[in-house]
């Protein structure tokens, strides 16, 4: 399987795109209709979404090469409206004004049936226009992701299926979902299967801005790296392999490429890699970058039959060396996101919950930068059987955590001060005993005092109220004092045991449950605001308005989703 890959490093994007598309002329020529896939995951500028400048120049050059019908399709995150994102980022203005023949199509897809272990391709509705397209081009921005280290073209094809997140959800409440980490297996299978429905004919990798450390959206922890590099590949799998090398990663450590090498798919092998052709620009202005590229490329004799001598052909080495883009940091750890205000207690978790939980915390951290001075510290529970939280305010993330923490202590709050009507009856009884014994000492003899039994009937009868004579005997008083001391000491020893049984509890209302397996965090921002009270979180309230603009629906208003604990407590 021969594949040609072209790498350019040039400050002028228009020139570099012209070079790349001219070199891939064999794939484009004589094709009158083209479908271009772009990334419209969220209304943030590149590297979260595609750079409109690149799309503009691609369309311009394709029209010059004779393409007449161009359609653009944008992949988004689940529950995000791609039409709104297209308009909010200004693509409407950039492209449809100058190129009126270009049409934009939002993502359409429906999931009719779900199974746990296998997904039939016939049950996923892939956009037909892409499936039947003559030429399919995809423009990709490499981004960091929690599951696979870097999000490239193979995973990008999933965004063409609407609400693809539901493909990996555990809706049948299978107990082994978490223990066997079935989310990850499903993810890999889905990504590869959807990609194989219609792999792109040409892939453009935009390395001008790369998102690292925190993604796929723009967070406060995320780092953007810049370069002037662009790459075009005729085979998306080998293009991904080379892109990982360019970013300094070992492709053999990548989950999806490992899966592709397995016997199930066997799409990558050493023979395939040996046939890969890499072309780099002949005249490099920056020698340092030239040296970096050539460190993982071998020299090949000039036996290609291309007429232009602009490109220099190279082959791939086995080992990695210097990357073109330095400084890509791995995805931030869950415990390092928000350590000042959160206490994370985790049990057995799968990669789905881990991914969504880190993204939720990153989102809260960026939105609540100002609110951190006021909100109380809260605990974040996820996974099966998490540890007991130390804080009153809690967020319980995922179905596993909700089910395993139903009867836990943190769901109840101990009330320390009781009302007069709810006082401890044992204490009152002991006080009555002391009062009665005082009067007994005054009125009766020593023998009668020792033998006198204080029973409940006698207390109730209030027989001693009528006795009024006083007898002062110092001996009796001393014994009386010792006895009182005994009664009180036994009472205090028993009090600790009895307190736990007869103490008053109320349900802890400062708990937020986020159901789902795994839950998608976009829907729960409003409930987080309710948890912390609106006037304490103005930053989060402002970001909520922003989210409501781009989602398909407004946030769910039904508050019953969060107060399940109260109904269970009442039962």
């Amino acid at each position: 399987m021969r594949s040609k890959n072209y790498i350019t490093i040039h400050p002028d994007t228009q020139k570099s795109i012209q070079l790349l598309l001219d070199s891939c002329r064999d794939t484009i020529i004589e094709k009158t209709s083209v479908v271009i896939q772009i990334d419209l995951s969220f209304p943030y500028v590149s590297p979260v979404t595609t750079n409109p400048e690149i799309l503009y120049y691609v369309i311009e050059h394709l029209e010059k090469m004779g393409v007449k019908e161009i359609t653009v399709i944008g992949g988004t995150l689940p529950s995000v409206n791609s039409i709104k994102v297209w308009e909010m980022l200004g693509f409407d203005v950039y492209i449809s004004q100058k190129f009126p023949n270009v049409r934009f199509i939002p993502v359409e897809g429906n999931l009719t049936k779900k199974t746990i272990y296998e997904i039939d391709i016939g049950q996923i509705k892939f956009p037909k226009i892409v499936e039947d397209s003559v030429l399919f081009i995809s423009i990709i921005n490499p981004k960091i992701s929690a599951i696979s280290d870097i999000h490239l073209s193979i995973e990008n094809s999933m965004s063409l299926v609407e609400d693809y997140n539901s493909l990996f959800e555990n809706q049948i409440n299978d107990g082994e979902y978490c223990e066997k980490n079935l989310y990850l297996e499903k993810y890999k299978k889905c990504a590869i299967k959807i990609h194989q429905i219609r792999p792109p004919d040409l892939v453009l990798y935009d390395f001008s801005s790369v998102l690292s450390k925190a993604g796929p959206l723009m967070y406060s922890d995320s780092i953007i790296l810049h370069s002037n590099c662009l790459m075009a590949s005729e085979n998306s799998i080998i293009g991904d392999y080379i892109a990982l090398k360019m970013l300094g990663k070992n492709p053999d450590d990548n989950l999806i490429i490992k899966a592709l090498k397995n016997a199930d798919y066997s799409l990558i092998s050493q023979g395939v890699l040996n046939e890969a052709e890499v072309y780099i620009m002949e005249n490099f202005e920056n020698k340092a970058q030239f040296n970096k590229i050539t460190s993982w490329l071998t020299d090949v004799p000039n036996d290609f039959d291309r007429k232009s001598s602009f490109w220099k052909r190279k082959g791939l080495k086995e080992n990695n060396h210097l990357p073109i883009i330095d400084g890509i940091e791995p995805f931030i750890d869950l415990f390092d996101v928000f350590p000042q205000k959160t206490e994370i207690s985790k049990g057995l978790i799968c990669s789905g919950c881990k991914q969504h939980a880190t993204e939720l915390l990153l989102l809260l951290k960026t939105a609540m930068q100002k609110d951190q001075e006021v909100i109380p510290s809260f605990s974040f529970l996820l996974g099966k059987n998490p540890q007991e939280p130390k804080n009153e305010y809690c967020m319980v993330f995922g179905d596993c955590a909700i089910q395993t923490t139903k009867d836990r202590k943190f769901r109840k709050k101990i009330v320390q001060r009781l009302a007069i009507s709810e006082r401890d009856p044992d204490l009152e009884r002991a006080k009555l005993k002391i009062r009665l014994q005082k009067r007994l000492v005054d009125l009766r003899s020593h023998e009668e005092f020792i033998n006198y039994e204080i029973t409940e009937d006698r207390i109730k009868a209030k027989a001693i109220k009528k006795l009024t004579r006083k007898i002062k005997r110092t001996e009796y008083i001393n014994e009386y004092r010792l006895k009182i001391h005994e009664i009180l000491s036994t009472y205090q020893q028993n009090r600790v045991k009895k307190n736990l049984q007869h103490q008053k509890f109320i349900s802890n209302k400062n708990i937020l449950e986020i159901p789902g397996c795994p839950p998608f965090y976009f829907h729960f921002l409003k409930n987080v605001i309710k948890l912390f009270r609106k006037r304490w979180v103005p930053g989060l309230a402002r970001s909520k308005i922003f989210f409501e603009l781009c989602l398909n629906q407004k946030f769910p208003i039904d508050p019953a989703q969060n107060l399940n604990t109260e109904t269970e407590m009442q039962k």
């Binding site: 228009q14 209304p43 943030y44 500028v45 590149s46 590297p47 750079n51 409109p52 400048e53 503009y56 120049y57 909010m88 980022l89 200004g90 409407d92 203005v93 950039y94 004004q97 100058k98 001008s208 801005s209 723009m218 406060s220 780092i223 953007i224 810049h226 960026t366 930068q369 100002k370 001075e373 006021v374 304490w536 103005p538 930053g539 309230a541 402002r542 308005i545 922003f546 603009l549 781009c550």
Partner: protein, 512 residues
């Protein structure tokens, strides 16, 4: 000694004064220092008390971080001759200058080629001859001195520009034409050379010069013992007196923990009745020097952490009223009762509790999510819908890399049709990300409110801010095309409501 005569005379007088100051021969009482002789600052039409000149030069050396000796060379690049040279030997004690040596270098010394080799050759020569180690050289073209002395330079523009603006233009030209070279490089000069690259045509600064003229207020920079006030020459529209001297010096008599309050009162009684100015500002000179040196020393393009650091420093300065700066008359917004009434109206304003740490991070997030890493934006200044000027700004990361002025032909384009304008701009300048339109009058009024009108004693004038903010709803005054998500929210909510929401993010929640 045609070019450097004034400078050498100035340095000699200061070195004499510095030696006698260091050894204690001078009486440091207030009356004696006030009556010292006045000397003229070279290349400026100003005369200054000797003591104040001594202190000013000390501050200049700290700004440039000059603690070592340096050689000043006037070199004719075409004829390759050293015309004049001066070696300045600085001292470690309180006396700033140890010695001034004239013409230490011969005419024929070769200054061509690699600047580091030139520096080493000059260093060797002076070490062998004078036993002095030189740690910096400054090479200047004689044309610069001719431009400064010739007041008719810059032709038509000279009449519009003030003396300060003329000097700025001469400096920018010198850096652009490589007529001013220093090795090792001074951060100030490298910052100016960067500015020159950004402002391709820096003559369009004069457009904004009119704006700044009417907003100029007298500024006093104060140190422990002394202060300097910078005032605009001529007659200010609101003043009764004619200001002859641009610089005025004074000495602080009371040294106290509350010297701010005493000093401001003193100044107010002396000068405000004389000049009847609307506002006058007082700044700590040491902080200003620190901040400017931080800005000059930072590497371009700015990184995220560096930009955040500089912004936080600036906001911290704004927060520290009565500590690092002050203004007369006292703004009414610092009064608790006024703030209470404003709070009841729904606006939470407390300038003493500006949350500098969160504003910078929120602003960075706003920049990163609305401006792509390398974007080109057009800024149009209009008046009642008709265009006056325009600039094309190229952003790279967190700093501006280019500013080009739009040609005059383009201003005749019909601005009502945004779509055609957008396509036209793309065809002329390449891909453009957005067009931002601002009304010049509104801009002027906003700056005027921040600098002057905010400092009134009349609380009703604060209402004018509300009306100003409301005007931003109008598309003629402020528009952004194509609108980013942040601007869409702004339009939906309205300017006043958006400002009320932002208020909660600007100030600390915990006030006590």
């Amino acid at each position: 000694m045609r070019y450097l005569y004034d400078l050498i005379d100035f340095y000699n007088k200061i070195s004499q004064f510095g030696h006698s100051w260091d050894t204690g021969q001078i009486d440091r009482s207030f009356t004696n220092l006030q009556n010292l002789q006045e000397i003229s600052i070279p290349y400026f039409d100003a005369k200054v008390n000797l003591y104040h000149a001594f202190k000013l030069l000390g501050k200049l050396f700290t700004f440039n971080n000059e603690k070592e000796n340096y050689a000043l060379i006037v070199y004719d690049f075409e004829k390759r001759i050293i015309l004049e040279s001066v070696l300045i030997n600085l001292s470690d004690t309180q006396a700033l200058i140890q010695e001034v040596i004239t013409d230490p270098l011969p005419e024929n010394l070769n200054l061509e080629g690699n600047i580091s080799l030139v520096f080493q050759s000059v260093r060797k020569f002076i070490q062998n001859k004078y036993a002095v180690q030189v740690n910096r050289i400054k090479i200047i073209h004689p044309q610069i001195f001719d431009k400064i002395t010739n007041k008719e330079y810059l032709g038509e523009n000279a009449q519009k520009l003030t003396g300060f603006q003329r000097m700025v233009f001469i400096l920018l030209e010198a850096c652009e034409n490589n007529q001013l070279i220093t090795f090792p490089e001074l951060p100030f000069i490298s910052a100016i050379s960067r500015l020159v690259k950004i402002l391709r045509d820096y003559h369009h600064i004069a457009v904004l010069g009119d704006l700044m003229k009417s907003l100029f207020t007298p500024i006093t920079l104060f140190d422990e013992d002394w202060y300097i006030t910078i005032n605009r020459e001529g007659k200010h529209p609101s003043s009764t007196a004619y200001i002859q001297k641009p610089f005025e010096f004074g000495r602080i008599t009371i040294k106290d923990h509350y010297q701010w309050i005493h000093f401001v009162k003193e100044f107010n009684t002396q000068y405000s009745k004389k000049y009847h100015q609307n506002a006058s500002y007082f700044l700590d000179i040491n902080w200003c020097i620190d901040f400017l040196s931080d800005v000059c020393e930072s590497e371009f393009p700015l990184t995220k952490s560096r930009f955040e650091f500089l912004l936080q420093r600036l906001l911290y300065f704004v927060k520290q009223n009565e500590d690092l700066w002050d203004v007369v008359p006292r703004p009414i917004i610092y009064n608790g009762y006024v703030r209470l009434i404003i709070r009841l109206c729904g606006f939470h304003i407390n300038p003493r509790k500006l949350s500098y740490w969160s504003i910078s991070s929120n602003f960075m997030h706003f920049l990163r999510s609305n401006f792509s890493p390398s974007s080109r934006n057009v800024i149009l200044l209009t008046k009642k819908g008709h265009p006056l000027t325009g600039f094309v700004c190229k952003l790279e990361g967190y700093s501006i890399s280019e500013i080009n002025q739009l040609p005059i032909d383009l201003l005749k384009f019909p601005f009502n049709n945004r779509k055609e304008l957008f396509n036209y701009l793309i065809s002329r300048f390449g891909f453009i990300n957005s067009i931002i339109q601002l009304d010049k009058d509104i801009l002027y009024r906003i700056f005027k409110f921040i600098i002057i009108d905010r400092n009134t004693k009349n609380p009703l004038k604060l209402l004018s801010a509300l009306f100003l903010i409301k005007k931003l709803n109008n598309m003629e005054c402020f528009d952004w095309y194509p609108p980013p998500p942040g601007y869409i929210i702004f339009k939906k909510m309205g300017a006043v409501r958006y400002f009320r929401l932002l208020n909660k993010l600007l100030y600390d929640f915990l006030e006590f």
